[in-house]
């Protein structure tokens, strides 16, 4: 950008007098200072705080599901099918088999988060090295971008279909299919960060100094690309949670009777007219958790790169 005067000054401080050269970016502050600044920005974003709080509660609830759940998730009570939410003993009601919806949601959340984390790990494990390589080594860029194109050509559901056909449907396959589908996005983010960092003086100086490629990548590029990677991972998890729900709903993911938010919805489909809560409650659970992740992800992105959020 140019130092145009047409935009109003943002702060009533002193501006450099000389025209011409765009103000150079200040040198990046030391890591602890940066971290504190990011945390402060995060705390100031009410939506981000709400998202984080919901997430914290959801994660704790999922981890402690065996302790918190009033019943085992598969416990059938033929005397109490279709109990309305609010019924004594069944806070969120029961389904067609008299299973406690609250308990099943807690366990389902556990499975959702498991798939989310596994999928992100897959995306990270493949996407980060490939993204670094594509951004750093010019020769590999074309090869890796063909690889990316190839992966994009298999939508996650089709991938899941293929995997299910070859290896049978399971939680692991769902996570794998979703994880693979998230690799291109991770590669893209890491690649562009690497390209950017490679152009910065301190990295260029290190290269000129004869530092080994792996050393430069590990020592300079990766640590500085971390914030972008974290943001990408954060926005990948809700996608994975939705993906798990979809696959399980279709029967391509977690198999009944294991509780999963997707299978709960799939079972509820049949009885939705007479017991709408069996469809509404698990769906709301998915919405709340993914919304929380998205809110937190947006806030994190804004906090890490306030300039990007203005645009």
């Amino acid at each position: 950008m140019t130092t145009s005067e047409t935009t109003p000054p943002q702060t009533p401080t002193v501006v450099p007098a000389r025209a011409g050269l765009g103000a150079a970016d200040p040198p990046p502050p030391a890591a602890p200072v940066r971290r504190r600044r990011v945390l402060r920005r995060l705390r100031r974003n009410p939506l981000g705080v709400v998202g984080f709080t919901i997430l914290a509660v959801a994660v704790v609830a999922a981890v402690l599901a065996p302790v918190l759940a009033p019943y085992p998730p598969a416990r059938v009570d033929f005397d109490a099918p279709f109990q309305v939410p609010g019924t004594v003993g069944y806070l969120l009601g029961t389904d067609d088999l008299g299973r406690d919806i609250l308990s099943r949601i807690l366990y389902g959340l556990r499975a959702s988060l498991q798939v989310g984390v596994l999928a992100v790990l897959v995306a990270l494990a493949v996407g980060v090295p490939l993204g670094l390589a594509a951004g750093y080594f010019r020769a590999l860029d074309a090869v890796i971008s063909r690889f990316t194109d190839l992966m994009l050509a298999f939508p996650f559901l089709i991938l899941a279909v293929g995997l299910a056909a070859i290896r049978g449907a399971s939680l692991g396959n769902a996570a794998l299919a979703i994880g693979i589908s998230q690799i291109p996005g991770m590669i893209r983010v890491v690649r562009s960060e690497t390209l950017r960092l490679k152009g910065l003086d301190f990295v260029a100086a290190s290269i000129v100094d004869g530092a080994g490629d792996l050393w430069v990548l590990g020592r300079h590029v990766l640590p500085n690309a971390l914030s972008a990677i974290i943001v990408q991972a954060t926005v990948t998890i809700p996608v994975a949670i939705l993906g798990e729900a979809v696959l399980s709903f279709l029967g391509l993911g977690i198999q009944p009777p294991s509780p999963s938010l997707g299978t709960m919805l799939s079972e509820a489909q049949q009885y939705a007219a007479q017991a709408p809560w069996t469809a509404i409650v698990p769906g709301l659970a998915i919405v709340v958790v993914t919304l929380a992740f998205n809110l937190f992800g947006d806030a994190l992105r804004d906090a890490l790169d306030p300039r990007a959020s203005r645009r």
Partner: protein
């Protein structure tokens, strides 16, 4: 806004600023602009007054941040909503400050046209240059597509673009920076504007191209009788083509005079500083070195009753900090030279001989 009125500042009413014939096409009086930002109010332009006469080139100079571009944009209400504009801008007697959006839109591009600094980004990349010129012709002149297309080729010829009939169908990225700026000029002149505001029109260009663009501007201004308001920080450009100069500092007009007068006898110490900072042959500061004005242009949340240059001024006294100097005229036989200074500098010849100002009280 401060609402400060400059007692003797109303230019034009009590002397003859400008060529002294006819009536000014644009009359600016006590124009003030404030911005409301998240961090409070910022005063960008304070009680600026000047006249623009048909056919003349009026340069508005100052460092970046002194409010010259804001002044230029405010003339036809181009500032963002957050801007608060007060005072008066008369275009041949018609008040533009506070005029409705619809009315201003009819004036923009028709009576008041603009050229901006960045010819690379100021043209829309997805439309041909011809279409962008045709657009303004159809909007203001109600031409048919056919007529406008023919006129666009004429305009490109006028601004010296070779093979205009071919260029008219090209996209901005296919043209060089100088060519793009010529397109901008053609677009600005399309409707024979009364005033052409050129905001740093050559800053982004190669030095060799700069001169050609300036010549073109001056030449077309004379031929078409268009008044040009030239916003620049480059005194070399001013010396080249301006008839008169308005010097701005921190949102205020601190000095205004015919170009020759200003360069010969700058009276405000900011102007002498600016001139001292220009490495022009024969115009060097007394010690022969390129001078730097110490300090920065302040960004003010409100306009104080003081000289805003005092903190950077070698001649500043207590009076400068306690009361605002009016933009007072000094009339010679032919011209009016105005400056807002309690301790004006003398003639340049004297300046060299004068001992350093002794009443400095700065730390």
């Amino acid at each position: 806004m401060t609402g400060t009125q400059l007692g003797a500042a109303g230019a034009g009413t009590d002397g003859v600023d400008g060529p002294g014939r006819g009536t000014p096409v644009l009359t600016v009086r006590d124009l003030s602009v404030g911005f409301t930002t998240e961090d409070g109010t910022v005063s960008a332009v304070d009680a600026v007054s000047f006249d623009v006469w048909p056919g003349e080139v009026l340069a508005v100079v100052g460092e970046s941040g002194c409010g010259k571009s804001v002044t230029a944009m405010s003339l036809s209400g181009l500032l963002p909503r957050a801007a608060r504009v007060t005072g008066s801008v008369l275009l041949e007697g018609t008040e533009l400050v506070g005029a409705g959006d619809r009315r201003l839109r009819r004036i923009r591009g028709d009576d008041i046209a603009y050229i901006f600094q960045e010819p690379m980004t100021s043209l829309n990349p997805v439309f041909t240059v011809g279409r962008q010129i045709i657009e303004v012709l159809r909007l203001h002149q109600g031409m048919s597509r056919r007529q406008a297309a023919d006129r666009a080729v004429e305009l490109l010829t006028l601004v010296g673009i070779p093979s205009p009939a071919r260029r008219v169908g090209e996209y901005p990225h296919q043209l060089s920076g100088g060519m793009r700026q010529r397109v901008m000029i053609a677009m600005a002149l399309a409707c024979d504007p009364k005033v052409l505001v050129a905001d740093e029109p050559t800053t982004a260009l190669d030095v060799t191209v700069q001169a050609a663009i300036l010549d073109l501007l001056r030449d077309l201004g004379r031929r078409l009788g268009t008044a040009i308001v030239l916003i620049t920080h480059d005194l070399g450009v001013v010396a080249d083509i301006a008839d008169r100069v308005v010097v701005m500092y921190a949102g205020r007009v601190v000095e205004t005079a015919p170009t020759e007068d200003l360069f010969d006898t700058p009276r405000h110490h900011y102007t002498t500083g600016l001139l001292g900072a220009v490495p022009t042959a024969g115009r060097r500061a007394s010690n022969g070195r390129l001078q730097e004005i110490p300090g920065l242009v302040p960004v003010l949340s409100e306009q104080p009753d003081a000289c805003t240059f005092a903190d950077r001024c070698p001649a500043a006294s207590d009076r400068c900090r306690a009361s605002r100097p009016p933009l007072a005229p000094e009339t010679t036989d032919r011209t009016v030279h105005r400056f807002a200074c309690w301790h004006p500098a003398g003639h340049r010849a004297d300046l060299a001989a004068e001992p350093p100002v002794d009443h400095q009280e700065r730390p």
